[in-house]
């Protein structure tokens, strides 16, 4: 079950929550997070947009991490989905990365998950069309292409 797969991540001390999203920005499952669905979708779009920017230049992103003083976000990105974990301690970072790698492998072996992914296929740059951009960002996107 997908829920059990994500449970491994939330059982790590100092991990606040985790969620799973497709490359279209659709949320499949979320655990331990206080965001509403709209906020989570917008967060996914912004995370995926970074992967999309790099993909435009022919570079495939596999991992994204964001660090603040007491918080960090770790994302594992594949061709069709991503897993995002939130934590408030860098001491669990190594364990979290390993667990996320295992989570990604388990998801890829899960039939129910693969069926869901197939209905959400999109190339890595798809999300650029889904985000709202300022005028300045539109100009930067034009330069990127």
């Amino acid at each position: 079950m997908i829920e059990d797969i994500l449970k491994d991540v939330t059982e790590i001390d100092a991990v606040e929550g985790v969620y799973l999203a497709s490359n279209r920005g659709e949320i499949l499952d979320a655990r331990g997070l206080s965001f509403d669905m709209d906020a989570l979708k917008e967060l996914s779009r912004r995370l995926l947009s970074i992967s999309a920017f790099y993909a435009t230049l022919g570079k495939k992103v596999t991992e994204l991490e964001f660090y603040w003083a007491r918080n960090f976000i770790t994302c594992k990105v594949s061709d069709h989905f991503m897993v995002v974990a939130f934590s408030h301690s860098t001491q669990v970072h190594s364990l979290l990365r390993i667990t996320l790698n295992v989570t990604m492998s388990k998801l890829l072996e899960n039939k129910k998950f693969n069926k869901w992914v197939k209905s959400h296929l999109a190339d890595r740059t798809y999300i650029i069309k889904k985000c709202e951009w300022t005028e300045a960002e539109e100009k930067l996107l034009a330069k990127l292409k």
């Binding site: 906020a39 917008e42 967060l43 912004r46 947009s49 964001f66 603040w68 860098t90």
Partner: protein, 193 residues
Amino acid sequence: MERNTAKLTIEHSGKFGFVYFENGQVVHAEYDPDIGEKAVFRLLTLYAGKFKVESGIRAPVRTIHTNWNNLLLDGLHQLDSMDDNPERRYDHLFERLFTVKGVKTALIFDKEGAIIANSSGKSQSEDALHALVLNAADKIGMLLKREGPDYISISAASQKYIYAKYNQYFVLLEMDQKIKLDVVLPLIKQALA
């Protein structure tokens, strides 16, 4: 210095420079697009690189007639005056960053992605990418009711790209993908302080 005849090869960020010695004196140097004394002065400005010495190799041509001691003194004098050059302002920062294991190149840019300084000297065409990444990171921070992150790490195309705040600018480090972020981040923070 020991009256040797040799060729010294210096490699920095994929670019090669050559210094030829005959009987202990520098007789020729090349560092594209310069040759002769100008090439020597430019090679003296490098703060990181790999070296190889090959004994017995003669210069293809003699372009330097100045005594090595005088050449070195001239070069060091030029280095000192370069510290006032705005283009060299960040050399010391780059020097510190390159002491962190795994750092391959370093770039300083502003919020709009415009390059302020570049350790490799190569022209950069990815300024739009960096500005877009920072904008996206700021929006992620806003969604989480925080400022933009202090550090961003992106693994892509067998490299690791670390974005860090540096005063009113940002630093981008291209690093070996295998580096352990938990180990290098404190070192990067120290180098940027």
